[in-house]
């Protein structure tokens, strides 16, 4: 299984088509509008409480970028400190390798089930599916992730994977599926959040108490101490991280921080940016193993899967600074309309649109860099100041270049751009086209407005009138009414001759 198979879901249509389906789902849009709106307001309020919010962002961005510049050094240091603390470090170049390592480690324990803390990295590599193939059942214990797993669905948000589900849907899913996986939901389950949470609690508790092996992701790891950090808000993560005998953590190599002290900044930024909370409810930190306390075997799998390739791109590498807070998703007007599934990727929204094409190669996700209006709201929201619009435009250029290289004949778009470039390269040609456009428009316009048109602009003109080009361009008006200045004497003279 290659990385691309999982980061980008196989068979997913390109963004514009997937978005069309999502847009037709009015319930989805209502769920999304409500959820992202609430969290957006909360985030703004708690960020405004800190006088040094902007300084924190600057610091975080600086730490991340400095770390990325010397990533090799920090990773080797991490391996050293984790090993010294009694853990074992494994290096995985891609999804297949990571899955094979985890499968082997679980098998070695003799167990056939594992509990899981929500983890983007294991989503990315398709670990649950790989384990299932090896006869090992993985139980998701994060509430939203549980809902997704029970419904055999895909996550659609970084932080709230089931954001696209309303509570009545969740009640139905619990009623229908919980029995298949363990303790069934109570007969009289209502769709009150408290009842739903209680049903999940009882269902999950059995698994926590039984499990001998846990799999987690990691939010951060400090290279100087070998400390790994998981941040979550339900306490399910803490159960997974403390009760089992064996703990296997799969971590993207970009999650390393040079020192324990760096956590200071990130643990302030993350909860405020993600859930709009001042402090995170459950922050678990562990360093290797401690005899008689917590898991006695700890494995850290360091996952590359496209990250070193991303690192090599000086503009694009900033996407590796991402702390997966999801603030960019919640402010994105495109995400708000389409939801996460339209991105066809484990990483949806603005960060997905820049990270996914880099991890799997731009060619394999070429529609994603274009899934943005470049409004810039994501850049403003990002706690580590990833300039997402800059990377989007950078990747668009790569997507266009890739097409240029791969095709014998240029695309229609490329031809249009070339023609437009020729016109815009010369004021004389531009003026000629303006005269032509004004003439042509007068044939189709009524009251100065152009209605529905056929052809490539049909999708535009289906819902919007277009104003007709002016009868006289500004350039022409200026020539007609103004005495020439020395600056434009040359072109003006030329114009007069022609007239």
């Amino acid at each position: 299984m290659s990385g691309a198979d999982n980061v980008v879901w196989l068979g997913t249509p390109a963004f514009p088509e997937a978005a069309r389906t999502a847009l037709a789902d009015t319930r989805l849009r209502a769920n999304l509008r409500r959820a992202t709106g609430t969290i957006r307001d909360k985030r703004l309020a708690v960020a405004a409480e800190l006088d040094d919010w902007e300084e924190l962002r600057d610091t975080a961005a600086a730490v991340k970028r400095r770390t990325l510049r010397h990533l090799d050094h920090h990773l080797l240091r991490l391996e050293e400190t984790v090993t010294a603390a009694g853990g074992t470090v494994h290096w995985a170049a891609d999804a297949a390798e990571a899955n094979a390592i985890v499968t082997r480690l679980v098998k070695a324990t003799g167990e056939s089930e594992v509990v899981k803390v929500k983890s983007m990295a294991t989503q990315e590599i398709g670990l649950n599916e790989a384990l299932a193939e090896a006869g090992i059942r993985a139980y998701e214990t994060d509430l939203a992730e549980l809902i997704v797993q029970l419904a055999e669905d895909r996550p659609s948000h970084i932080l709230v994977p089931a954001i696209h589900r309303g509570r009545s849907e969740i009640r139905e899913i619990f009623r229908r599926e919980m029995g298949e996986w363990g303790r069934p939901a109570p007969e009289d389950l209502t769709d009150e959040p408290r009842d739903l949470a209680e049903a999940a609690r009882l269902h999950l508790r059995e698994k926590f108490l039984r499990a001998k092996v846990a799999v987690s992701g990691a939010n951060f790891a400090a290279a100087d101490t070998g400390t790994v950090v998981v941040v979550e808000s339900e306490g399910n993560g803490r159960m997974c991280l403390t009760l089992p005998e064996t703990l296997i953590t799969v971590m993207g190599i970009e999650k390393v921080l040079p020192s324990f002290a760096d956590l200071d900044v990130f643990l302030q930024l993350l909860p405020r940016s993600s859930t709009g909370e001042r402090m995170n409810p459950y922050t678990s930190l562990w360093t290797g193993v401690t005899e008689g306390d917590g898991p006695q075997n700890f494995h850290l799998v360091l996952l590359d899967n496209g990250r070193t390739a991303t690192l090599a791109d000086e503009v694009g590498r900033q996407a590796l600074s991402c702390i997966r807070c999801s603030a960019c998703l919640n402010v994105c007007p495109v995400y708000e309309r389409t939801g996460g599934h339209a991105y066809g990727s484990v990483y949806p929204g603005p960060i997905g649109a820049v990270l996914t094409p880099q991890l799997v190669g731009v060619k394999n996700a070429a529609s994603l860099p274009f899934a943005s209006t470049l409004c810039g709201a994501c850049y403003d929201a990002c706690p580590v100041k990833i300039n997402i619009p800059e990377v989007l435009v950078h990747l668009r250029a790569e997507a266009v270049e890739a097409k240029r290289r791969d095709r014998l004949l240029p695309t229609t778009e490329a031809l249009v751009m070339k023609a437009a470039g020729a016109v815009l390269g010369s004021p004389r040609r531009l003026a000629a086209v303006q005269r032509l456009a004004a003439l042509g428009a007068r044939l189709v316009a009524r009251d100065g407005r152009i209605g529905a048109l056929p052809g490539p602009v049909a999708r535009w003109s289906g819902t919007r009138d277009t104003p007709a080009p002016a009868r006289e361009s500004l350039r022409a008006w200026w020539r007609r009414t103004r005495t020439p200045t020395s600056e434009d004497a040359r072109t003006t003279a030329e114009g007069k001759v022609r007239r």
């Binding site: 495109v334 810039g376 668009r396 390269g425 004021p427 289906g462 919007r464 200026w478």
Partner: protein, 246 residues
């Protein structure tokens, strides 16, 4: 002050009245406005759609044509943003040292209209009169690339007779995004629908913005639905005087 008007190719072709308004306004304030005839385009469409090398001739032309003025004004937040944020990038990537130097010279003199008026010319009351109910949409590039902040609102508030009403969810994108509106037409339409709803909620007669491209998109929708709400560029409202009948 000797100010060059960078009208932008889109305004030049579609909205020359915006350029005339800028000219009238600046001349009324006592400045000299020049229109270098050799100007064409900032290259934004090519740059943002991924056709980067094709942007180079436009960057070069811009730096040549607009060299040496006290200020260059563009009645478009997104074209001013293109020049300010990206011309250096293109020059560095495909150009030579002399081009990079030329770009470096010209970029600091380029302003979006409200920046020029408030920051450079130091005026907020431009002596305009526009007795209509108006709501203002802060376009994304003005808002987040240029950070024009409340400069346009300061200018609008000083307009005589205006009834300026706040636009709900003003800062959310209208869904235009250049070629985005063609490539992702469905999402663009969904965003447009929300923007139009907010505009209609204000009961305004005119929607005002500093970018005719966003106004074309929103105004095109408002026109198709026969809402009767007009669109007007900031420059045109600021250029209006008591004698004008709209």
């Amino acid at each position: 002050m000797r100010i060059a008007l960078f009208i932008t190719c889109f305004n030049d072709t579609m909205f020359p009245r915006t350029g005339r308004a800028v000219t009238e306004l600046l001349e009324r304030l006592g400045h000299t406005v020049e229109f270098p005839q050799a100007q064409t385009c900032c290259g934004q469409m090519h740059f943002n759609t991924g056709y980067r090398p094709e942007t180079l001739p436009m960057v070069r032309r811009f730096a040549e044509v607009f060299a040496g003025y006290d200020a260059v004004v563009a009645p478009s937040g997104s074209c001013a943003g293109m020049v300010r944020d990206h011309h250096r990038v293109v020059a560095a990537q495909y150009g030579d040292d002399s081009l990079a130097a030329a770009v470096e010279q010209v970029v600091p003199t380029v302003y979006e209209l409200s920046e020029l008026l408030v920051d450079v010319l130091g005026v907020t009351d431009v002596g305009a009169c526009f007795p209509h109910r108006v709501t203002y949409h802060p376009t994304c590039h003005s808002l987040r690339m240029l950070r024009v902040g409340d400069r346009p609102l300061k200018l609008l508030r000083a307009v005589k007779g205006i009834d300026l009403v706040e636009l709900p969810a003003a800062e959310s994108c209208c869904g235009f995004g250049g070629t985005f509106a063609l490539k992702n037409a469905d999402v663009s339409n969904a965003m447009l629908a929300d923007k139009m709803r907010h505009v209609l909620d204000t009961g305004a007669e005119y929607l005002c913005a500093g970018d005719n491209s966003c106004l074309t998109h929103i105004g095109g929708g408002l026109s198709r639905l026969r809402t009767g709400v007009g669109t007007m560029h900031l420059a045109e409202i600021l250029a209006s005087t008591e004698g004008d009948v709209r």
